[in-house]
């Protein structure tokens, strides 16, 4: 058994919340730059260069890339040979979020109750997803999620007969409806299969995938390519102001499903697709 004290988790989560909001990951930046060169509309190019300058200012002057520093979504994979000691792991993670959002000058955007809506003033609680995996490590991914794009996300419970054409239509519908609201160019996370909640979780996780990694299943790979092309012919463009580049990437995850169903979840993310991963 490897012993890990949860105070270490607090420290790391705090730092990850800050890093995610000030610096975009390398894969995101690479994709961003490549896409920028392909934009043809003058206004679109102008928006891209503003976004590029924005990233530079964020890193240099320590101003968050976007003022919506998100609700902290955290994926934790705990190796089954790890014994966690100290404070309860959920409390330790929330303490990390509290510390990161307070010390990192990040906006506190969380309300304690969806109807009463009183701000918790420290951006807690986070939304935490745990997985037990083989091994003796703990892998943590922090993905602060802005709600301009979160609000435009959808779950479609399709019928098996709708097939891949139905899936394509669902993805395009979600992207079209999102339009300028989701701060394009977007990253589109898709979950196909599983159950209602599994599809949504897969879509969320798809957003945290390194953009250089491709899925193993061939039809999923070609669907990603096809959807990216289709989305980039919609004309929504950077900032939704018209142009070629509406999406930077489409990431799709799949899972087994029931004989009677074909769930499709589309989690839309903006160009500020933040995710940081650390392994303890």
């Amino acid at each position: 058994m490897r012993i890990i004290n949860t105070s270490e988790v607090t420290q790391i989560v705090s730092k990850m919340c800050i890093d995610a909001n000030y610096y975009l990951s390398e894969d995101m930046k690479e994709t961003f730059n490549k896409s920028m060169d392909r934009e043809e509309s003058e206004l679109g190019k102008k928006i891209f260069s503003q976004l590029e300058e924005n990233l530079q200012i964020a890193g240099e002057d320590k101003i968050p890339i976007c003022q919506d520093t998100g609700m902290a979504v955290i994926f934790v994979e705990i190796g089954q040979e790890v014994s966690l000691q100290g404070a309860n792991i959920t409390d330790a993670i929330n303490e990390g979020v509290r510390k990161g959002y307070t010390e990192g000058y990040l906006r506190k955007s969380v309300v304690s109750d969806p109807i009463e809506r009183v701000n918790t003033k420290d951006n807690t609680p986070a939304v935490i997803h745990y997985d037990i995996v083989p091994g003796d490590k703990v892998k943590i991914t922090v993905a602060p999620k802005g709600f301009g794009s979160e609000n435009m996300s959808r779950v479609f419970m399709l019928k098996p007969a709708d097939g891949i054409e139905g899936v394509k239509e669902a993805i395009l519908t979600a992207v079209k409806d999102a339009g300028p609201n989701a701060c394009p160019p977007m990253v589109v996370g898709v979950g196909i299969g599983g159950t209602f909640e599994k599809s949504a979780l897969m879509a969320k996780k798809a957003l945290t995938r390194n953009l250089n990694d491709r899925p193993d299943i061939e039809w999923v790979r070609s669907l990603e390519d096809e959807m990216l092309d289709e989305i980039n012919s919609l004309g929504i463009g950077p900032g939704g102001l018209g142009g070629k580049l509406t999406a930077l990437a489409v990431n799709i995850n799949t899972y087994a499903t029931h004989i009677a169903g074909l769930p499709v979840a589309v989690n839309i993310c903006c160009h500020v697709n933040r995710h940081v991963t650390e392994i303890i």
Binding site: N54, C66, Q67, P180, G235, G237, G242, H271
Partner: protein
């Protein structure tokens, strides 16, 4: 893809204009969807919770914490400022969440809204009727936009934190005309 969007894609010349705030009806009427503006002067900052409170005051006929006449409201909730900074990250929030309140605000004299994303038919009609304008600034460019804000002061509802009402002074703040008073709508083009 519609014809208008194709035209925009091929448009090489972007109409750029420097505008001094406040934007009056006359100024608003001279603007067209697609114009690229650099704004200088004073504007208010308010988002969901502040709009709700002001709307309730209007309904009750009580005095308001801000003067709506010829006003410009930027839909935004900044991140906290560091020592020595005027404001933190300061990009637009989704404007449609203010759609419920905006027509009333426009009828009371507000002339300019800055946010991002689509507006309802009711808001677009109120823009035409009041000779007002809806502008978009670039979503997710909060660090860059904060550099165009030279002064910032919380003037009401401090208890709302990031959602408090501010008065800010901007210099060459970039914004694009989305909905004009002729019924032009850049997102529909």
């Amino acid at each position: 893809m519609t014809l208008g969007k194709v035209q925009l894609l091929n448009k090489d010349i972007i109409m750029e204009r420097h505008i001094e705030l406040p934007i009056t009806s006359e100024v608003a009427s001279s603007l067209n969807a697609g114009d690229y503006l650099y704004l200088s002067g004073e504007m208010y900052v308010a988002r969901d919770a502040a709009h709700k409170r002001i709307y309730e005051l209007i309904e009750k006929g009580e005095p308001l914490p801000i003067d709506l006449k010829d006003s410009c409201i930027y839909y935004m909730g900044p991140s906290p400022a560091r020592e020595g900074q005027v404001i933190g990250s300061a990009g637009p929030t989704t404007a449609s969440r203010m759609d419920k309140y905006a027509p009333t605000f426009l009828d009371k004299g507000q002339k300019c809204m800055i946010g991002k994303g689509k507006r309802s038919k009711e808001v677009r009609d109120a823009i035409i009727r009041n000779h007002a304008v809806y502008l978009a600034s670039v979503g997710g460019a909060g660090a860059l936009l904060s550099k165009c804000i030279v002064e910032s002061e919380v003037i009401a509802y401090e208890d709302l934190g990031a959602e408090a009402i501010r008065k800010i002074k901007v210099k060459d703040f970039p914004a694009i005309v989305v909905c004009d008073d002729k019924g032009g709508n850049l997102y529909d083009l």
